[in-house]
Subunit: 131 residues, 3 copies
């Protein structure tokens, strides 16, 4: 038995849940917030037999997609090196990086952040029970 | 150390928390939603020593129970084979299964779904700390 | 890859998130409630490479702290042995323990509870993916 934690964008969560349900997966939905963009997203818990893990991941992948989101540079944690215009998920900058630490001269400008389709953690379940 | 994720119905969550607390378990409560019935339920996190795991599970089991819930067939994901009247937790239908995919002729009717007492996932904790 | 569940007090959560973010950790925030004090707290999910686990824990520790909270004895689960004035995190009482089970004569009085900085569970991740 595996327990999947899948963090998806709110816009994709209903579609992901529907497709998983149609394929007889059971899902529990937790409302969550991204630490960086501070906007709402959805964390799904999906407990599944080991032999159906790949199907669950495939369904999540097919029903979620990455999107570009514009944020204001002033909302970044102070002194943070940030890529411009996007930010690769492995945290290597797409473009020239720009320090936001220039104190009073700090001018806010739009930064484009690429939010991925789904971030997935698969954990091993030691014991599963329906009581 | 083990971390229990226990998904219980909202009606049982206070009783489960109280009984666990009286037995010196510590609990964190997360509000959650069922993927299928889309109604609120409660996900409890209980970190416990290995030798108290059985007691924690026993207390959760004693203080939660399954209930029948009527839902409208129109809210099922389209084209979903659904058991009538209930649905066994291992996803084998209780009764004759009925396809909800008959397009325009689709008439909505009440379907009884049996929601279990508690769904429990036990995970192994690599490291535990109170800082 | 490890997945950290860190339960911190609401007052510390923004600082912890900011410091983790500045150090290139990614975080998902879940709103939660303590089972005992029933007040809001924050559960953070932080997925990190194994070799950055110690840094993540160090940052959480530095940016969260324990606080004393006064609660009314009447809100304790009935019949619960409770330490006076505080309660050590390993659940051994600080002072003389006092039964709250004396029925009609029960008089409510303030009890001091010490809420720790952060409670941390580290789980092993079998599979990680950004889809
Ligand atoms: N310290 C940082 N510096 C610069 N850019 C940063 C950053 N942290 C995040 N980003 C960028 O911002 C996007 C949204 O992050 P957020 O934290 O709001 O929302 C995140 C977070 O809630 C969750 N998440 C991703 N990786 C995680 C991890 N390792 N642990 C816990 N949660 C994670 O998935 C959501 C989407 O992540 P995704 O990677 O697709 O997309 C991320 C990433 O492209
Ligand atoms: N694809 C499907 N087709 C037909 N019937 C379905 C179905 N998915 C769920 N059901 C039925 O509906 C009840 C409520 O499911 P729900 O998803 O709202 O609420 C669920 C869900 O939040 C959680 N849960 C159960 N198994 C889970 C799993 N493997 N992974 C994650 N969450 C699970 O526990 C709650 C109660 O589950 P329980 O099994 O007792 O009861 C389930 C089950 O009898
Ligand atoms: N059965 C009990 N009897 C007497 N005193 C009790 C008690 N349960 C908790 N306390 C005390 O009350 C504080 C707040 O607990 P609460 O459950 O609201 O909030 C907790 C809970 O949400 C979470 N937590 C701590 N240990 C946990 C565990 N093993 N499993 C799940 N959640 C845990 O972290 C928060 C802070 O915990 P912390 O230990 O620092 O602080 C605890 C502890 O000092």
């Amino acid at each position: 038995m595996k327990l999947i934690f899948a963090i998806v964008q709110d816009q994709d969560s209903n579609k992901v849940i529907k497709e998983l349900s149609k394929n007889n997966f059971q899902i529990t939905k937790l409302c969550s917030t991204g630490g960086f963009l501070k906007s709402g997203n959805t964390t799904l818990l999906v407990g599944t037999e080991d032999n159906r893990l790949d199907l669950a991941i495939e369904l999540i992948k097919k029903n979620s997609r990455s999107r570009k989101q514009l944020i204001d540079s002033s909302m970044l944690p102070y002194g943070m090196e940030c890529a411009l215009p996007g930010y690769h998920n492995d945290l290597t900058p797409y473009g020239p990086s720009l320090s936001t630490g220039i104190d009073d001269l700090e001018v806010s400008y739009p930064i484009e952040v690429i939010v991925g389709g789904a971030t997935i953690f698969v954990l091993n379940v030691e014991r599963f029970a329906k009581l």
